[in-house]
């Protein structure tokens, strides 16, 4: 009986050791702390217009909440990092498929991301988009 108790004790210790808590990463803290204000949106290097006009709806405030929800201009939706925290995957109810954005710069004051977006009027056409945000 004593051996059984010892064995159970060791086993539980193994389990508890395995369940270590993870710390919040620096990039996660930088992204989720401020409310970001869009400074510029460039489609292939110029301001969005014509078929790309819908991207202007991303202008305004953006907030990445810690629980994975957020708002991005007039869009609401969900976001997540990839595990390497080099990309932000944004899913909104407005854009039909997730947008994987590459983080070019993330500091306490600046967020610069880029992605490729399909032209909703002509899915054969796509454009490179760069968005710059400043912390409020």
């Amino acid at each position: 009986m004593r051996r059984t108790i010892c064995l159970s004790f060791i086993a539980i210790a193994l389990l508890l050791t395995a369940c270590s808590k993870e710390k919040e990463s620096e990039r996660f803290r930088l992204l989720t702390t401020p409310v970001w204000v869009s400074e510029s949106i460039l489609v292939n290097g110029v301001k969005p217009e014509g078929d790309w006009d819908f991207l202007n709806d991303f202008t305004g405030d953006a907030k990445f909440h810690k629980d994975g929800t957020g708002y991005f201009g007039s869009f609401t939706g969900e976001w997540k990092f990839n595990d390497a925290e080099t990309e932000i995957i944004i899913t909104t109810t407005t854009v039909p498929i997730p947008i994987v954005t590459e983080i070019i710069e993330l500091t306490s004051v600046t967020l610069k991301i880029s992605t490729t977006i399909l032209n909703p009027q002509n899915p054969a056409e796509s454009a490179d988009v760069i968005m710059i945000f400043k912390a409020r």
């Binding site: 193994l14 929800t69 997540k80 595990d83 039909p96 880029s114 992605t115």
Partner: protein, 744 residues
């Protein structure tokens, strides 16, 4: 004083010497009672814990004993035999022994868990053992189908998942490592398991470890391993064959039937095992034609194997040999259905991927066992794969793989064993699909097993692994495992274990770049290795109740993995829209599993049954700030598997029941309004209506024509249940097969 003392000592020694000269000896040979083979390394214990072991020919010799002597013969996997003999002075008593193998499930000897022979009950990890007879009883000739019938394991479109550790990975990568006689079988390019090439002929058993096993087996063993163990030749030559023919019935949804002539499948196999003096020979061949129940989804397959093993007559304990396997397949993979209403069993020419694949493995090996305390093993595997897609030649690929491992096992003391080894795995891939790449994987491992007190075993192991791809090195990965097993009562074993695992991304996940129909695959060279750990508590209980003997196993497990790779359909920077592999999931899976096996006799009916129930709670914890529970994709919570076989006189009857609960989560691409119709027309409505879990019943009946010939009939999916694996992958409806098998 000193002189007197020395005189007394001298007198005692003289007396002992005289007494010794008046003693006798015991000698004999120990053989296997079933095959008559000599058993080497049997412990022969006599007197007050004195002992010896049998040599390679099974002989032993005990010198200088007299009077009534109790001799105990012990060997792993065999019932212990005790004999009392009376030895007179100057007499040599001959005592030959036949040891009987233990039929009890818990006494089965396995090798996969610790890379050395050990009773399955004494392991610190969960292991399921699938016996060879399960294949013929259930008309199984495909390893994928076989593994999927094991409790706690699901196979979704070729992706094996142990206790919910994996989902559906679009054919790239595997978190479960397949082994043949301990050598890895996952392909070098896609990192997946080519199930159709796994030989099921001449197998002795299949061992499945549930949980991270990377310390002993390296990358890809993140979620577990499946080891296909070949049978050894015995003194009695064994020739087996089977030939089977089958036909698919009508699907439950009559509108799905697209054929006008019946859809047939046939397969046949021949295998032979024989011992020629000191040389064992095994050979097998298997051929299969399956017209398929789905349009543009047939397959023709052939595989052969040759196994040679020679026991040296000059060097005691030395054996060496060569295994060769080869296979060829010509098939059309089913990717996407045409529509849910009438075309679920049809795919269009645009997505049909005709595939011609060949492979060959050449595995030389040498083993040296000395004094039952040391064993050296050197194994090498050369593997070549050739994949051709005639309709899309830019997706062709060739892969060459050279794997080698050296392992040293030492029994340092009676309570301490050490197993250490070095492995090397070089891969070369040439392909327009993946690009040209070469990888090198180097690793060293060591594991200590101690038995500090009676009934307690503890293991601890460490592995260091280095991986480089195209000359670019990844960081050195250290991983650990530890476990204990305690025999709490005669037939009760408690166990606890912890093991780390990892998996380097396959070349396909990193570099695949192509278009399949309307689907674009985008490469991602930056993805990281998956890593994680698993831990469990378990108890194994054997029982003997009247004429019923069996075992039950209950385990509670927890595993956590990070950097899990999944394919996400999205808009990517610089690449456009398509699927790309990325490190997106962090998984925490806990649950419990119950397994049982028993045999009984009711009047004159022999009944055997195996089965189990697995519960998993597979949660994606990548967002730890959200209270919302997000389930991992392509996992289920509940699964029940139950198999019963019975025999009466020359008749056999069997059934298999497989119950699974609904799939908890799938990729958004199949749910979002814009994309779901693009890939799988009608899927969304079908999914909402039918993702409720399923129960599939198989039944079988057989007649033993003669001791060497057997005829059997199986109906798979007897209930004609309509169910789906991954999205768009409708599983086989009711089908009938008849098999003639023999043992010459």
């Amino acid at each position: 004083m000193i002189r007197h003392f020395l005189t007394v000592i001298l007198c005692i020694l003289c007396c002992c010497s005289l007494a010794s000269g008046a003693e006798g000896n015991i000698k004999g040979r120990v053989i296997d009672s079933e095959h008559g083979e000599p058993l080497a390394g049997v412990y022969v214990i006599y007197g007050s814990n004195r002992g010896t072991t049998t040599n390679d020919s099974g002989y032993y010799f005990i010198a200088d004993v007299s009077g009534r002597v109790r001799v105990v013969f012990q060997f792993v996997g065999y019932a212990t035999v005790t004999r009392d003999v009376t030895v007179r002075a100057d007499e040599t008593v001959e005592l030959d022994i036949s040891l009987e193998t233990l039929v009890s499930e818990i006494d089965q000897v396995v090798v996969s868990a610790n890379r050395t022979e050990q009773k399955v009950a004494e392991l610190s990890v969960s292991m399921s053992v699938i016996k060879n007879s399960f294949l013929s009883d259930n008309h199984i000739s495909d390893a994928r189908e076989l593994i999927g019938k094991n409790p706690g394991i699901d196979v979704m479109d070729g992706q094996a998942s142990v206790r919910g550790g994996s989902g559906f990975s679009y054919g790239a990568g595997s978190r479960v490592l397949a082994l043949i006689d301990g050598l890895p079988f996952n392909s070098a390019d896609a990192g997946n398991i080519k199930w159709q090439f796994l030989p099921l002929e001449n197998l002795s058993r299949i061992e499945v470890i549930k949980g991270a096993s990377s310390v002993l087996y390296g990358s890809s063993a993140l979620n577990g391993i499946i080891n296909f163990r070949s049978a050894d030749a015995s003194n009695t030559p064994v020739t087996k064959f089977h030939t089977e023919a089958g036909i698919f019935g009508r699907p439950r949804n009559r509108e799905w039937k697209w054929w006008n002539t019946p859809r047939f499948f046939t397969n046949t196999s021949l295998s032979h095992l024989q011992k020629f003096g000191k040389t064992d020979i095994g050979m097998s061949a298997y051929f299969m034609t399956d017209e398929g129940y789905r349009r543009l989804n047939g397959e023709n397959l052939g595989r052969i194997s040759l196994r040679l093993k020679h026991f040296s007559t000059k060097v005691e304990g030395l054996n060496y040999g060569l295994n060769i396997s080869a296979g060829s397949t010509h098939k059309t993979d089913f990717v996407l259905w045409e529509n849910a209403r009438t075309g679920a069993l049809r795919q269009s020419e645009a997505t049909a991927a005709e595939f011609r694949g060949n492979f060959i493995t050449i595995d030389p090996f040498i083993s040296l066992r000395k004094n039952e305390r040391t064993r050296h093993d050197l194994k090498i595997r050369f593997r070549s794969d050739r994949n051709r897609l005639p309709r899309n030649e830019k997706n062709n690929s060739d892969a060459v793989n050279l794997y080698s491992e050296y392992q040293l096992w030492c029994r340092i003391t009676d309570f301490l064993d050490i197993t250490s080894g070095l492995t090397e795995n070089y891969s070369l891939v040439n392909s327009e699909f993946f690009g040209d790449h070469h990888g090198l994987n180097l690793a060293g491992f060591s594991q200590v097993e101690i038995r500090p007190v009676n009934r307690l075993k503890a293991v601890a192991g460490l592995r260091l692994e280095h991986f480089s791809l195209d000359g670019v090195s990844d960081r050195l990965t250290p991983i650990l495992r530890a476990g204990i097993n305690f025999q709490a009562a005669e037939y009760t074993y408690l166990r606890a274990s912890f093991g780390q695992g990892y998996r380097y991304p396959s070349i396909a996940e990193k570099y695949a770049s192509t278009t399949l129909g309307s689907v674009k695959i985008i490469p991602n060279p930056g993805i990281l290795a998956e890593k994680g750990w698993s831990t469990e508590l378990g108890v194994k209980q054997a029982f003997l109740l009247g004429k019923t003997a069996g075992q039950a196993d209950l385990s509670f497990f927890l595993m956590q993995n990070s950097n899990l790779i999944e394919f996400l359909f999205a808009s990517y920077h610089g690449e456009g829209v398509g699927f790309r592999a990325d490190n997106l999931e962090q998984a925490r899976i806990y649950g419990s599993e119950f397994e049982f096996a028993f045999e009984t006799r009711l009047n004159r009916v022999n009944i055997s049954s195996t089965g189990g129930y697995a519960y998993t709670f597979p949660r994606d914890i990548s967002n730890r700030y959200s209270d919302k529970i997000v389930f991992l994709k392509y996992r289920r919570k509940h699964s029940v598997k139950l198999y019963v076989n019975s025999s009466w006189k020359s008749f056999t009857l069997g059934s298999g029941l497989n119950i699974r609960s609904k799939i908890l989560n799938i990729d958004n691409v199949f749910l979002e309004p814009l994309t779901r119709e693009l890939f799988l027309p009608g899927f969304y409505e079908y999914w909402n209506r039918n993702n409720r879990g399923h129960a599939v019943l198989d039944v079988s009946a057989g007649y033993i024509i003669s001791p060497r010939l057997n005829l059997s009939f199986v109906v798979k999916n007897f209930t004609n249940t309509e169910y789906m694996g991954r999205p768009g992958d409708i599983q086989p409806h009711r089908n009938f097969s008849i098999r003639l098998s023999g043992n010459l």
